[in-house]
């Protein structure tokens, strides 16, 4: 360790030219860029343009899983496949039966709406996609699907699977899209409880749970109750499952409770998701 001497002209150990002035200049530029990006989201726009450069990387990342999947299909025996087809056929029959019931209910609902002169429900289009890798970038979790602008995916579409709501499309590239999951701290959705009596805004926390920050303490909510999308706002159709109440935490203000909700959906890589798009 060196001792500083009295001489002001003495350059200590580093003989480089002083980068202090360029440092402050570049620091200012970086902060300006960050502020501008945070406000106007230019990162998303630029990433759409350079997504082609990322395509080989995505291909390399997904290749081993694709090979393993194909290999599994190749090795599966005829008897096993036959059984699988049979069970899926049974499932389809049961679902068709449900669909018939739903059709009659839908017609009844439409007639009632006509009588009561309520606005027609907006028709939704459903697109099926598959979650692909990468599921994280540099330690930040993300969900990427294999459909993009080419497949008519639109920004803001709601994404769900058979378990419940997953998130919303926030970036559309030509052949892939990025989804902001409901657990993201940038996510919020209007929700209604399964009993239909409690409305609230559920928001992501950045952790694997969701929350309603302040719910009036007089509301009769119990652990195990669950929340569905309320349909307000028009992005998410009414009735998609969001999550189950797992904790009710009293706050400093005795009039309100903090509600912790565990989401139903846990999207896995290479699982299917449904994108819901408004047909306006």
């Amino acid at each position: 360790m060196a001792k500083e001497t009295g001489s002001k002209k003495l350059k200590l150990f580093n003989t480089q030219e002083s980068p202090i002035l360029p440092f402050f200049l570049l620091l200012l530029i970086s902060i300006s860029l960050m502020s501008y990006d945070h406000r106007y989201q230019i990162n998303y726009d630029i990433k759409q343009y350079i997504s082609a450069l990322n395509t080989p990387i995505k291909f390399i990342i997904n290749t081993p899983s694709t090979i393993i999947q194909n290999f599994k299909i190749y090795l599966s025996d005829q008897e096993g496949l036959h059984k699988k087809i049979q069970s899926q056929q049974n499932e389809i029959n049961l679902l068709l039966l449900d669909a018939q019931k739903l059709q009659s209910l839908e017609n009844e609902n439409a007639n009632l709406r006509k009588i009561l002169q309520i606005k027609e429900i907006v028709k939704k289009e459903v697109i099926i996609a598959e979650i692909v890798l990468p599921n994280q970038i540099n330690g930040i979790p993300q969900i990427v699907i294999n459909k993009g602008a080419k497949d008519n995916i639109k920004l803001g579409s709601a994404v769900m699977n058979n378990q419940g709501l997953i998130g919303q499309v926030t970036q559309v590239n030509s052949d892939s899209s990025k989804i902001t999951p409901i657990t993201s701290n940038q996510f919020a959705v209007s929700a209604i409880s399964n009993k239909g009596s409690i409305n609230g805004i559920i928001s992501g926390t950045g952790n694997p749970v969701l929350e309603i920050g302040q719910l009036p303490a007089y509301e009769s909510l119990a652990i195990g109750d669950y929340f569905l999308t309320s349909g307000l706002g028009g992005i998410y159709p009414r009735g998609i499952k969001i999550g189950k109440v797992t904790k009710i935490i009293p706050t400093y203000n005795t009039q309100f409770n903090r509600i912790i909700i565990t989401p139903f959906s846990s999207p896995l890589s290479f699982s299917e998701v449904m994108l819901i798009r408004n047909n306006k």
Partner: protein, 162 residues
Amino acid sequence: MISKNNNLPQSWSKFLVIFLVTILLSQINLPFLNDIRLIPDYFIALIIPTIIFRFKNINIFIVFILGILVDLFIGELIGQYAITFLIIYISNFVLHKFFVFKSPSQVIFLYFILLEIGFLVIGTTSISYLLQNNDMYILLYKNIMTIPICFVYKLIFEKMSN
């Protein structure tokens, strides 16, 4: 690293390969690691040996451009890695201004300090999580895997310079 090291690999092509491999690695899950907090920050691990070894006499402008490139490929915000790399660069400069890092233990200490500075800057500028919602061990988790990766890069740079 007081004086200019003339034995350094004077090849940007090698560095480009390392950079591309790092982009690839940053998007791959590590086997047997289910906890996402343990995923190392490959770019901080790469930039520290690059700055310490003064690869191609790297200057602050190149460090800034590298940061912007990282932001464009994998970053959350444009400027986040640029600011992190700049602060690591200037910290290295200031530390070298007042201290000598000659023995291996001193160099390891320097690596450790620069890593922590990098994590602090990345952590405080991140928009993907709220600090109050993350447990206090997040820095420890990040260190567990990033320190070994950083020393792997250090070894690669040493091999390249030989």
